[in-house]
């Protein structure tokens, strides 16, 4: 292996792909979105969420009620602006017609026993909109108002106002309110998703690059100057560095934005990185990024070399991506329990381990044995993938025409 030539290829791959619009747009869009969030937080301050909410829900939120039970009136002071009482249904309907209220709830005499209520709307709309939640909250609060002492009532209405989560061995402790649920979800979700996408897109550049070089026959000139192994190594290094550049840019720009934003105005808690993105998480994520990138890019490079056309190469690549993306399909399990058995199992296979771990890590404490096994299987499998991938890559590059069948691919590996 000639490292001068390898580094020449790596530099070429890095610089040519760095200038591609699809790379630049995706790389810049993440900090741009974050900048927008910080800007909104800075301009609107604590009103940011309210401003956001006002964009998403209708202006008129006033609910009319007709109480025939005698239990729901007078309207509690806290609801003066959102609930308006009417003596009978006809008066309520008139108010609805005039647009004074958004929806009318008629509580019949037997409501307490049956829970049945009639809802009158102007037109057939979404029955799970904001007024539905307001009236539910109001009925609960009104019915309990004179029956329980304030503390007990508060617990019934909001049983778990703050939570402190600790691990059995005391290695982790987190306290949060309702909004930290957002922090516990949105930031890890975005982190995992962006990292997984970066692994796929860097590997994807390799696949499309090889397919294009093969399709345009440049490959023949390249192979008269370098070996297939040098070509593959150079591409893997160059495009791996490209992915790392993107991650480094994101970390630097997001960290910088979070810091600057916090100086100007307190950030909404759901964009806070504190306690969610830790150094441990970053280091481990980097390890899994590298392992994942190496495994997927080598397999996709070999796949790209096998295809007779760019389209065919992408079809072969999609088979590899299917495995790599499997942990993303288990996202619903992962976010509720990152140590669920099925999620742990996919962390033990080299083709799924990097993505699975990247997704698991931000959502909770992962058993060290899982980290050890997942890294171990990847590290042990990597030489096999390098060996087989390079052989297929070499044999596939000059195999123009029809895509070789599986038996021929196996012959390429074991020849």
């Amino acid at each position: 292996m000639n490292w001068t030539r390898i580094l020449t290829i790596a530099r070429h791959e890095y610089l040519t792909n760095l200038r591609k619009p699809r790379y630049l747009i995706f790389t810049l869009s993440v900090p741009a979105l974050a900048l927008l969030t910080v800007a909104v937080g800075t301009v609107f301050g604590s009103e940011a969420l309210a401003a956001l909410e006002s964009q998403l829900v209708p202006e008129n939120q006033v609910v009319g009620i007709v109480d025939q039970t005698g239990e729901l009136l007078p309207v509690l002071p806290a609801y003066d602006e959102s609930i308006r009482a009417y003596d009978d249904e006809a008066a309520g309907r008139t108010a609805l017609q005039e647009g004074t209220i958004r929806v009318l709830y008629v509580f019949p005499e037997e409501f307490i026993e049956t829970g049945a209520v009639t809802v009158v709307r102007l037109d057939a709309g979404n029955s799970f909109d904001a007024p539905t939640f307001i009236i539910g909250e109001y009925v609960r609060e009104r019915l309990l108002a004179e029956r329980l002492d304030p503390d007990l009532q508060a617990r019934v209405l909001n049983p778990l106002r703050t939570t402190t989560e600790i691990t059995l061995d005391g290695s982790d402790e987190r306290t949060g309110d309702a909004s930290s649920l957002l922090a516990d979800f949105i930031v890890p979700y975005m982190f995992a998703l962006l990292l997984a996408i970066t692994i796929f897109s860097s590997s994807g550049f390799l696949l499309s690059g090889v397919a294009e070089e093969k399709g345009s026959r440049v490959i023949e000139i390249l192979l008269s100057s370098v070996t297939a192994s040098e070509l593959l190594t150079g591409k893997v290094l160059g495009l791996g560095a490209l992915g790392l550049t993107r991650i480094a840019f994101w970390v630097a720009s997001l960290g910088g934005l979070a810091y600057l934003g916090a100086q100007v105005s307190p950030l909404p808690s759901f964009v806070s990185l504190e306690g969610v993105i830790t150094v441990d998480l970053l280091v481990l994520s980097l390890v899994y990024y590298l392992l994942g990138y190496l495994i997927y890019s080598l397999l996709l490079g070999a796949g790209g070399a096998l295809g007779g056309s760019v389209q065919e190469s992408q079809q072969i690549g999609s088979l590899v991506s299917l495995f790599a993306a499997l942990p993303l399909y288990l996202f619903a399990f992962t976010i509720t329990n990152p140590n669920a058995p099925i999620v742990r199992i996919v962390s033990y296979f080299p083709l799924t381990a990097p993505t699975a771990m990247v997704v698991r890590l931000p959502f909770g404490t992962i058993p060290p044995i899982d980290i050890a096994i997942s890294i171990g299987v990847c590290v042990l499998t990597l030489p096999l993938i390098v060996w087989g991938g390079a052989k297929v890559f070499r044999a596939g590059l000059l195999n123009y025409g029809k895509r070789p069948p599986l038996a021929q691919v196996l012959r390429m590996i074991f020849r």
């Binding site: 030539r5 020449t8 070089e213 023949e220 000139i221 192979l223 370098v226």
Partner: protein
């Protein structure tokens, strides 16, 4: 004198198909050598083996006195199936390919500009490859094979897709390369160009050598015992001549077996025939090519 290319009993197979079958030949330094053959004869496979892209299944190949892989930095290659990085600038492509051959960027940049000027593409140096016409891309690829100053250049169909003006340009450049001491190995289907350029040729068919040697000698050998003669006189019977025919105002004389042309010339002069032109006929390469390939196909 060290040979530029030495191929000894080369065999290359694709599964059960034998693409090159015990092929042997040599290319001498500084010559223009033609590698000819019909489609599917095994030319590209032979060339790819010389370029170190394929290893031989059997036999030995030496290029510039070493293995094809070790010789790569000193060899230039224009493949038959062409392609370049369409989204890159013209000069960037040249610098990258030269750098892969081991030429430093500062040096290759100067050479790239000089070559672009020579093939009338200097104004396009900073344009993207995809904005060039097909002929321009062809010329760009031609200079990409030479940018690193190789000792041997292998040109597979260098005239394909070029207009007559650019054919003449490339033809002149190939001659210049040979005159400067570079060895040129040329594969082309246009026999007139091969005749105009090559010193020696190898004709292969179905992976085997069917004709190999000096182009002049081959053409003479295949011309049979024929002489072209221009004379205003009516020809008498001449000793050693078995047949005379008029072709476009000239005479074509067929000589008896083992009869030397010089003896016939002496006989003509002795008989008092006025001679304006006397030429030992050579068969056109195209005729030789077709007759050999067809004869082989009939045998099979």
């Amino acid at each position: 004198m060290q040979t530029a290319v030495e191929v000894d009993n080369l065999v290359r197979r694709y599964g059960d198909f034998v693409a090159v079958d015990h092929l042997s030949f040599e290319v001498h330094p500084g010559e223009i050598f033609g590698l000819l053959g019909p489609n599917g004869a095994g030319k590209s496979t032979t060339i790819r083996t010389l370029m170190g892209i394929f290893p031989p299944d059997e036999g030995e190949v030496r290029v510039l006195g070493t293995s094809p892989r070790a010789a790569q930095p000193r060899v230039g290659y224009l493949p038959e199936e062409r392609g370049l990085y369409r989204d890159l600038q013209v000069v960037e492509v040249l610098l990258y390919l030269a750098e892969l051959k081991g030429m430093p960027r500062h040096k290759s940049h100067r050479r790239a500009l000089a070559w672009l000027e020579r093939v009338r593409l200097l104004d396009w140096a900073n344009e993207r490859v995809k904005d060039l016409s097909r002929g321009m891309q062809q010329k760009l690829q031609f200079i990409a094979s030479l940018i690193h100053e190789p000792d041997l250049v292998v040109l597979d169909e260098p005239f394909q897709g070029l207009d007559p003006v650019n054919v003449a340009l490339i033809k002149g450049l190939i001659r210049d390369l040979a005159e400067s001491g570079m060895t040129v190995m040329l594969s082309a289907h246009e026999m007139s160009l091969v005749e105009a350029l090559c010193d020696r040729i190898l004709l292969i068919n179905k992976g085997q050598a069917v004709l190999y040697g000096s182009l002049r000698e081959i053409k003479r050998a295949y011309a049979g015992q024929t002489i072209n003669l221009s004379s205003p006189d009516r020809l008498p019977d001449i000793a050693g001549v078995t047949h005379v025919e008029r072709v476009n105002g000239s005479y074509r004389l067929t000589l008896a077996d083992a009869q030397q042309p010089a003896d016939v010339l002496q006989n003509l002069l002795t008989a008092g025939v006025t001679i304006d032109a006397f030429e030992v006929a050579a068969a056109p390469l195209e005729e030789i090519f077709v007759s050999i390939v067809e004869a082989r196909d009939e045998l099979d």
